[in-house]
């Protein structure tokens, strides 16, 4: 690694962290306004245009809150837990490609912080680290309710991580790579040619079942409704973050939304072509390049911009989907959750692997 590489990695990491930090308040606003509108209310609409600055006001409030910890907690782990759940949420994004590559001078720059050769495995490893924060918070808070919340969280993770990992194997088999960069690039290939219309080889078209399992497991992984058993006002007061207040609580909330973002990014990368342009955007791109008389570097930069926009739209849609589902479906009961995880999702993901294996063997995909 020379100076250029360091600079490139630093710039990419800085960009991602900045974007992720901006995403959280916006998502909180989307969640609050969206839920309100779905329930025929209006939601926060006073602070700033359309209430967009409400999150800023909330953050200010969180910052000014009294910084105290209950006397019965295990202080070191109690303070560590929010960080342990927040940091992996940021880290997961490192392996996600958000655009294809560009030549700067004679150097190839990948729009991915780290093109790891373990790719998706890294994401799973780090994403499951996040649950340690929750368990740590529950345990260190030294209270019944937080304990129960974190226990639920860990058992939920175990049941759903399994089918999540297995559902991705189908994708890995079809693209014979675990590198997310490769997976995103290979999804640009043509699956079917219908006249002039070419259907790209997006993951959802070859792995519809795998996508469904991954989607459901992603909801469970991010502790979002209908699988938000670690929290539950009526049963365990608040769940694992019961003893936390002020900014420490806000960190847990940030981690939740960041996990949501990462899950959306991974879903779009694995099953929706990642940075591959959305249908119609290719024509728009070539039109824009023509209209602006761009060639060489400028055209390339525009292409990267379009790819980032395409990726952003996909991720944005899934983040909205997380919110949408949350305010539509009722929660699962705990045994139903376990039933779904072990008796439905796990066999289905095994079937998916088997079918994919056959398809790969006979060369259908």
């Amino acid at each position: 690694m020379d100076k250029f590489d360091w600079l490139a990695v630093g710039a990419k990491a800085g960009f991602i962290v900045l974007v992720l930090l901006q995403v959280v308040p916006i998502m909180v606003w989307v969640e609050r306004r969206g839920s309100a509108l779905m329930q025929n209310r209006l939601g926060p609409n006073r602070v700033g245009p359309l209430g967009l600055f409400q999150s800023l006001a909330d953050v200010l409030k969180f910052l000014w809150k009294e910084e105290g910890a209950p006397g019965h907690v295990e202080r070191f782990y109690y303070l560590l837990a929010p960080l342990v759940s927040l940091v992996p949420a940021f880290m997961t994004f490192a392996a996600v490609p958000f655009a294809s590559s560009i030549m700067i001078g004679d150097r190839l720059v990948q729009f991915q912080i780290a093109d790891l050769n373990v790719g998706i495995l890294y994401i799973f490893a780090i994403a499951s680290l996040g649950v340690y924060g929750i368990i740590m918070a529950g345990w260190a808070s030294n209270s019944k309710y937080t304990m129960l919340g974190s226990l639920r969280s860990s058992s939920q993770m175990i049941s759903y991580e399994l089918s999540m990992g297995l559902s991705v194997i189908g994708i890995i088999m079809t693209f014979s790579s675990v590198k997310l960069g490769d997976i995103a690039r290979l999804q640009g290939e043509t699956l079917l040619q219908l006249g002039s219309l070419s259907i790209p080889k997006w993951g959802i078209l070859i792995q519809p079942l795998g996508f469904l399992i991954f989607l459901v497991a992603a909801f469970a992984e991010t502790n979002r409704l209908p699988f938000d058993l670690p929290e539950g006002e009526s049963e365990i007061v608040a769940g694992y973050h019961l003893e936390y207040g002020g900014m420490k609580f806000a960190l847990f909330m940030m981690a939740e939304y960041l996990n949501m973002t990462t899950a959306s990014a991974v879903i779009s990368t694995l099953y929706f072509g990642g940075w591959q342009l959305l249908p119609g955007m290719t024509a728009l791109l070539s039109w824009a390049q023509e209209a602006l008389h761009l060639s060489g570097m400028g055209a390339e930069a525009l292409r990267v911009g379009f790819e980032m926009a395409s990726f952003g739209i996909k991720v944005g849609f899934f983040m909205w989907f997380f919110v949408w589902v949350r305010w539509t479906l009722p929660r699962f009961r705990y045994d139903q959750l376990m039933d779904l995880g072990w008796k439905v999702m796990l066999p289905l993901s095994l079937v998916n692997i088997f079918v994919t294996g056959l398809m790969v063997y006979y060369g259908w995909i």
Binding site: G34, M38, N40, L42, W324
Partner: protein, 147 residues
Amino acid sequence: MLVKKKKGVLQELYLIEIIKGLFITLKNLFFAKKVTIQYPEERRNYSDRFRGMHYIKATNGVENCTACMLCPTVCPAECIHIEAGERDDKEKYPVKFEIDLLRCCFCGMCEEACPKDAIKLSNIYEMSTTHREVYEKSFLLEQRGGK
């Protein structure tokens, strides 16, 4: 009795039902009428029988009250304090008429008991203050209307 509804295969799968549900929430998001009353700009309309802030009705600038003491007698919260006096034309009138708002439970019995149609409960419901409020006669004599 618990009646088990028969479900088809598609309903057992839940997926289609979930998608239907998603579109119901989306329909609500975009098209349903929102029920929120945006308070300082819009206000809820209460009925005419609403019991809010008190006032003493006056005719030609003179209060209707004759200090008959029926309202402090009937008041369950004992929040009305009246000191009676005599006018030049030998008519009885309240020298002092105070309502301790913190004690008042807005039952409206004073209004019902009053033979002179003097004490009234208006439609005004914004009465929050930063100190212990005792309404005095001069304040109560402002004709707040409503009834």
